[in-house]
Symmetry: C2
Subunit: 112 residues, 2 copies
DNA sequence: AATTCACGCTACGATTTAAATAGCAACGCT
DNA sequence: AGCGTTGCTATTTAAATCGTAGCGTGAATT
């Protein structure tokens, strides 16, 4: 049986409280999750297209992540359109853009 | 030898370009990474304290994540103080607070 | 001076997750 | 009927994480 998708209000790995932020961290702290949200910002993509955008990550992980993100109502699948951000995914993705800006600034400083 | 820490400008898993946001997603998309940043917002914590705050995650992962976060200049270790957010970690953590607010709103809607 | 204690870990076997690759069923188009 | 695209599943192999035990150091206590 597959691991359950972390959702707010549910007990998740590392949180008996089910605080929404813990569920979200659990969900987004899985491989390719953040990347998928990022790649879907610009609009719908087919499964294969998305997989390519994620640099060829294996279809099994992509599929698993998509299932979780769908259960979390962040992503949805419209036949003929492929995968796209659901309204809540769009909301969440808005918080990623400033982080992108910050990351570019970050680029100029770590001990590299 | 351990896996290398994703840093901007370096090629990372799933990104030949080394775009900073990809490095960041790679770094934060590892177990407990987001949580650690979150738990350190309030101030310094000892290793064991932090581990407890992360609901008893194994010391090996916590240590691995801390090493990566330190190499990424997001976290630092001050002897006598324990671990704390470095200036850049503080900057980044500012972007997490609004996400927390959003997550509480998210709580009221997914198909749960 | 010996003991205790907290701290920051490391070691290691067991389990879970992800990677890599192959391939299949359903659909639309010609 | 043949071909291409889509959205996957299956299988094997590799890597990441878990869970528990315990070590070395330094400061405080007895």
């Amino acid at each position: 049986m597959a691991k359950s998708t972390p959702l707010p209000g549910k007990k998740v790995r590392g949180s008996e409280t089910g605080r929404p932020i813990m569920a979200l961290f659990d969900l987004l702290g899985r491989r390719w999750a953040l990347r998928i949200l990022w790649e879907l910002r610009a609009g719908p993509r087919t499964f294969r297209d998305l997989q390519q955008a994620c640099d060829g990550a294996s279809p099994s992980v992509i599929n698993t992540r998509l299932r979780e993100l769908r259960e979390a109502a962040l992503v949805r699948h419209e036949s003929g359109e492929g995968y796209e951000l659901a309204p809540q995914g769009i909301e969440l993705s808005k918080y990623l853009s400033p982080i992108n800006d910050w990351a570019n600034y970050w680029d100029n400083s770590p001990g590299k």
